[in-house]
Symmetry: C2
Subunit: 302 residues, 2 copies
């Protein structure tokens, strides 16, 4: 009986895999959403989950379908903003070095019209930025109505690297979780859909990716010896991430955990999540706010 | 004999078309460059020229080859900037409504990593912008080192729409040609490759494109009755363009005229021009500025 059950399980599993249709959208948000409560990063999967494409080939095929759908959703979002809609979407990408924040930016939002994108990459703050509160530079880059904004790093650095390196005293950074929640609530109330992705890579895969950069002269420039120093603080970063994820996992702007050991799976997940969130906004091409027949006549005479 | 010659001509023409290889880059800059001297827009071709793809299919195939080459050139440009290169490229797009400034942005720079792009779309200036000189808002959007900047409209509007609508007195706008040349010279001397494209559409094709927007509910939002008013000023605009093209056609930052009646040909031309200009910069992946072996050891122990 045990053997029989096991065979049936295998059959089911095979059926599940066959069931993945690269041409169809998959709802991933509920499955990726970080549950409320204490967070232990080491318990969160970094590999391929049991849904969606299970091979690079299937993922590549699915991405070819998702691209045009994302592009159309973005166009609708942009179009409706020309007639007063304030809806926009902000994708926030956080993760350890090599997790793939740049890769997601390139491969996930790549198919979207660049005219509808607003990207912001937050590096070390300038002297002027440091002279203001930590959200000052962030607020300036909130996407305009109708746009998809992407934050490659974000205000979360102010409770991550800043905490790990003790760049400000604990009494300063410890207040920021509440300030972040308040800021994000403000965005959500003003029609910004906030999609926060923690791109989660394992320590071993990070080593592989850093080593790969040393093996390829076209990747030398991506390697920074300081990244190995940061890697030495892995556990401290994981603790800081765990607290940021737990404390800023709000109903309006929850965290999504993206397993990132396989680039093709990571990209497919974020693309699917983005599609799902855009589809929830349900943007529509607006009606004509002029007299179509009258315009046809004017043009005919012009 | 006449018939024979004609047949030979046809054979040659067929051979020429066969000679177009969608997989290979084509140098277009010299052929598109506006000659020095007086400019009559009505003498400039808006249709398909006698080189490059002669069909939509060939153009589409060529674009599939150009995309990855552009993406790699952009990556090299970005990479070398991480080690001190100041090189960047600024693509300036000007043209009448419907000529395809947005289309070029989407289809030509679309294949490039959005992280390496900086787009600026210049609309009616704000009160704050109007309180400054006309180049103030433009200078702020000059691309960073290693980036490809795209200006969808630009400082040229200040000698185009501003002149046509007499938004400032003639003694103000007439000084701007020299100011523009001086500004662009400054850019070029600081390693910004300036590529100025006049996207040139015929008056008939403009009508067709405006009418098409009225036939398609997903395009209603792109139609603005004010565009027909502007169309009524076609000749005045053409004169303003002719003067801007002639007076700002400098050696360091010449104008390129892009026939735009066929979208597929227009996109292929701008993509080819962009590739040629990036290839002239000849960006290189920089060498490692750290000890590769030492880093391998550090990573092995981490």
């Amino acid at each position: 009986m045990g053997g029989k059950k096991s065979k049936k399980d295998k059959d089911n599993k095979r059926a599940d895999k066959r069931a993945f249709d690269p041409a169809k959208p998959v709802e991933v948000a509920e499955r990726l959403r970080l549950p409320a409560g204490p967070v232990h990063l080491s318990d969160l999967e970094t590999g391929v989950l049991d849904f969606g494409p299970q091979s690079k080939t299937d993922a590549a095929e699915a991405m070819l379908h998702i691209g045009p759908r994302l592009a159309e959703l973005q166009e609708r979002l942009y179009a409706q903003a020309t007639q007063g809609s304030r809806e926009s979407l902000l994708l926030i990408l956080q993760g350890m070095d090599t997790a793939g924040k740049d890769g997601v930016t390139n491969h996930v939002v790549g198919p979207v019209d660049p005219g509808g994108l607003e990207l912001a990459s937050f590096k070390s703050p300038t002297a002027e930025e440091l002279a203001h509160d930590f959200l000052w530079r962030i607020r300036k880059r909130v996407p305009s109505a109708g746009r998809i904004g992407v934050f490659n790093r974000s205000h979360y650095e102010d409770v991550l690297i800043v905490r790990v390196h003790e760049l400000v005293p604990k009494e300063v950074w410890s207040k920021r979780y509440a300030l972040i929640n308040s800021f994000e609530r403000e965005l959500v109330r003003q029609d910004v859909t906030v999609v926060k992705c923690f791109v989660h890579v394992s320590k071993d895969v990070q080593r592989e990716r850093l080593l790969a950069r040393l093996d390829d002269p076209t990747k030398y420039w991506k390697y920074n010896p300081a990244d190995v120093d940061e890697r030495g603080r892995w556990d401290t970063y994981q603790d800081a991430y765990a607290e940021a994820l737990r404390r800023c996992n709000t109903v309006g702007a929850p965290w999504y955990v993206i397993p990132a050991d396989k680039k093709w799976y990571r990209n497919w997940l974020v693309a699917s999540l983005l599609e799902e969130k855009l589809a929830e906004i349900d943007p529509r091409f607006p009606p004509a706010d002029y007299d179509i027949e009258a315009e046809r006549r004017r043009l005919g005479e012009s």
